[in-house]
């Protein structure tokens, strides 16, 4: 196990990771729907294992402006987690949450960012909760940190953590809709040891 790379883990357990991603994203959408008090639909999330040099392309280019919410994961597993959403989608979310108090077209001011932090908190919290329930492990998020910047710059943070283990990054892309289509991306970054714990807890010991 110790010399197993992230690539091998992901190849061998792709379906399991995909299902975890699916359930996590589903729970996150339910939480979002409750917060927005409207129906939010989602497509089946796509789980991708990407080369670093290709990650920017997925989100519409490295220079696509996005909002990134990043937090640590503690408890029985350790690591970090990122939720990213495109600028336009973020504005839409902020407008809905603040019930129009913050106009959608304005710059991301402190209030807007604070609202996004809250969205990120709720979405990632729901995601981690479902993971916790499935695996019967204690998983706690740390307070989130939020930024608005180029996709490539935001992604450099999870990429540099994945980079310690390999040359690829595991990403769950989920598309969801309320009135408009929103693209959200989850990047769960457990430490390699934590992968083993997650899989073992699901009755799939790594060999």
């Amino acid at each position: 196990m110790a010399d197993m790379s992230l690539e091998q883990v992901t190849e061998n357990y792709y379906d399991v990771l995909k299902e975890l991603g699916n359930i996590g994203a589903g729970n996150a959408m339910t939480a979002l729907s409750q917060m927005l008090q409207c129906k939010v639909d989602m497509k089946v999330p796509q789980v991708r294992l990407l080369e670093f040099r290709d990650v920017g392309e997925i989100m519409g280019g490295e220079e696509q402006i996005m909002v990134g919410v990043f937090l640590g994961v503690e408890g029985d597993i350790t690591g970090s987690m990122m939720f990213m959403v495109e600028e336009e989608s973020a504005r839409h979310l902020i407008q809905k949450i603040t019930m129009g108090m913050l106009p959608g077209g304005s710059e991301f001011e402190e209030m807007g960012l604070s609202a996004m932090k809250e969205v990120g908190n709720i979405i990632t919290g729901a995601y981690l909760n479902s993971l916790s329930t499935l695996t019967n492990m204690k998983i706690y998020p740390t307070p989130p940190s939020v930024t608005v910047d180029m996709a490539g710059a935001i992604l450099s943070v999870p990429a540099s953590i994945f980079g310690i283990f390999g040359d690829k990054l595991l990403m769950i892309q989920s598309q969801f809709y309320d009135e408009v289509e929103l693209d959200g991306y989850f990047i769960l970054i457990p430490d390699l040891e934590s992968y083993a714990k997650i899989l073992t807890s699901l009755g799939l010991p790594m060999v």
Binding site: F52, G56, E63, E74, D149, A153, L155, A159, S160, D167
Partner: protein
């Protein structure tokens, strides 16, 4: 016709004047632009982590690390006819994208460590750093022209600067 060559994350490439070379959305990563001041051969590396020796598994992508990435960049430039003694460098990036309230993890500091590692590697290779735009908390897109040595830096909501 000149063109602009694109370098991805954890990647490196060389170019010859009048071509330029670019990398988009540097965050905690560092972009290292090197040129031979005489024959205008240039190169750009987009490194992601400070030290290849701290990594446990066997790694194939040497462009990912400051130490091995810069060495490889210099080697490829020398293959094109550049001379180490005439090389100069400019660097950008190494931002701290996310700030954490002291939970003990070292997630945030990789940008600073990258910049430090890049500087120490360039010093070891005796390549002087003419200019830098590093640190802070925002992402950068850079374009480098080996002809003039101009290093253009763009950031969200800021004017383009040339160093």
């Amino acid at each position: 016709m000149s063109e602009i060559i694109k370098v991805g994350m954890a990647d490196l490439k060389t170019c010859v004047s009048p071509d330029g070379i670019t990398t988009l959305g540097l965050g905690s990563c560092v972009g290292i632009a090197v040129r031979d001041t005489v024959n205008k051969i240039g190169g750009l590396a987009h490194i992601m982590l400070p030290d290849s020796k701290a990594i446990r598994n066997g790694q194939q992508n040497i462009a990912k690390f400051a130490d091995t990435g810069i060495e490889e960049l210099v080697r490829q430039m020398e293959k094109l006819g550049a001379k180490r003694s005439r090389m100069v460098a400019k660097i950008a990036g190494g931002a701290t994208m996310f700030v954490f309230q002291g939970n003990g993890t070292n997630l945030g500091q990789v940008g600073d460590r990258n910049v430090e590692a890049v500087k120490s590697k360039l010093k070891e290779l005796k390549i002087p750093i003419l200019a830098e735009d590093t640190g802070e908390n925002y992402g950068r897109t850079v374009i480098f022209y080996p002809e003039s040595g101009d290093f253009h830096i763009r950031a969200v909501g800021k004017n383009e600067t040339i160093i």
